[in-house]
């Protein structure tokens, strides 16, 4: 299967390529060739592509330490996409809306978003500075020298839900409740940005839940024996 055909069928895979730091000009490479050239295991690449295409990963495939390090790089890259691209974009749309419509509702909505954005940034920093280094130490250490009281894989999974729930709130407020006259262009752009963000956040947490955390837990188990 050629990568270009896969992208044609689901353009969201471009986002995946970006998170893997792969150039979009994939020529006529097959998935296998692409993986080989990029030094990514096919197993990992296909598992993540499946998530983007709406399939679960097949069972618990064993991922190597090398795979896991790449997963972490992938997740870090998607953090940057949220941090520097998607959230600022949404923020600027809301700002523009707020400036061209009077009424305090939009002011409140902007405040809601800004507070939410701050929370998201905190969370991203937390993952980058605490969670990922923990996983990297776990992968590096052959012997059990990890301070597992400080942190554990399970703890990690409790952190996400809040981010997705507030995004849901924002969408519902805009779809159902907050009255804004006209400005359909800007509002459509805002909605598309929100849905794009939601989609990638969803895949992001799937990767964490179905690949990163299970692998982390199995390494923890091995080391505790």
């Amino acid at each position: 299967m050629q990568m270009a055909d896969l992208i044609d069928a689901n353009p969201n895979l471009l986002l995946m390529l970006q998170h893997f730091n792969i150039d979009f000009r994939v020529s006529d490479q097959t998935v296998m060739q692409l993986c080989e050239n990029q030094g990514i295991s096919e197993n990992l690449f296909v598992s993540i592509a499946n998530l983007y295409n709406g399939f679960g990963t097949k069972g618990h495939q064993p991922f190597s330490s090398e795979d896991m390090l790449q997963v972490i790089e992938f997740l870090k890259s998607s953090h940057n996409y949220y941090r520097w691209d998607k959230y600022p974009q949404i923020s600027s749309y809301i700002r523009q809306l707020q400036e061209s419509h009077s009424g305090k509702e939009l002011k409140l909505l902007e405040k809601f978003f800004n507070e939410y954005f701050t929370e998201v940034l905190d969370h991203l920093d937390y993952e980058d500075n605490v969670a990922f280094p923990y996983f990297i130490t776990l992968l590096d250490s052959e012997k059990s020298e990890v301070e597992s009281e400080v942190y554990s894989s399970k703890e990690y999974s409790d952190h996400h839900t809040d981010i997705e729930l507030k995004l849901q709130d924002l969408k519902n407020l805009l779809l159902k409740y907050v009255k804004i006259e006209g400005d359909l262009d800007l509002r459509r752009k805002l909605f598309f940005a929100l849905y794009e963000l939601e989609y990638d956040l969803y895949i992001h947490s799937l990767i964490e839940e179905s690949i990163l955390i299970p692998s982390g837990i199995s390494i923890e188990r091995e080391q505790n024996v």
Binding site: F112, L170, L173, V178
Partner: protein
């Protein structure tokens, strides 16, 4: 609002029983039309072309055909089934929603059918009025928006914290909004609280 009549189908091979039931139904205040079929095979055919709200069935017709009934019920979830209980069969709660016997009074039978009708309508109505909060929920919401804690709301309304939590859950289900700051914007959009009351 226009409401179409309930379509009640009676599946009964005895003319006496069918006509008796039909008379009871037609003389009642139920807004409905009744038609008759004799066998289960006719039912499948009819369902393909016509909407049926309630099926009144002689449960003897279900004997050895449980699988078919279950299949029909799955395919047409809005169909309610009332069984005529001849007192000779054990109850089959999976196959019927409700049952009555041939010796029940006309009022009882109608009452039973009305219950089924209400059961049918409630999901749609709930959806329509999804964010119609009750008076109590509005009070809890107002408390939340004003930054009160669960305990403070409970004390102010003289209810338990447990009840406050339950109201909060219902508010979230009805509005689709979970966070406190999101609910504040909701409350202002719906004019439940005055925007002047809120500090920006």
């Amino acid at each position: 609002m226009y409401k179409s009549p309930l379509h009640i189908v009676i599946m009964e091979s005895s003319k006496i029983i069918y006509e008796g039931l039909q008379a009871i139904i037609c003389q009642s205040e139920l807004y409905c039309r009744a038609s008759r079929i004799e066998t289960l095979d006719e039912l499948s055919g009819m369902l393909e072309t016509t909407k049926i709200d309630i099926l009144i069935a002689n449960q003897l017709q279900f004997v050895n055909r449980e699988k078919e009934i279950k299949k029909i019920r799955k395919a047409y979830p809005s169909l309610s089934v009332a069984g005529i209980d001849f007192g000779i069969m054990q109850k089959q709660p999976v196959l019927t929603d409700i049952s009555f016997t041939l010796y029940d009074s006309a009022e009882h039978i109608i009452h039973t059918l009305e219950k089924l009708e209400r059961k049918n309508q409630s999901p749609a109505q709930q959806k329509n009025e999804s964010d119609n909060l009750t008076k109590r929920e509005l009070e809890v919401l107002t408390g939340l928006v004003n930054g009160m804690l669960n305990k403070e709301i409970a004390d102010a309304l003289n209810i338990s914290i447990h009840t406050v939590v339950r109201h909060r859950k219902n508010i979230t289900v009805k509005t689709g909004i979970r966070s406190q700051s999101g609910l504040t914007i909701y409350a202002i959009s719906k004019k439940i609280v005055e925007i002047e009351d809120i500090e920006i």
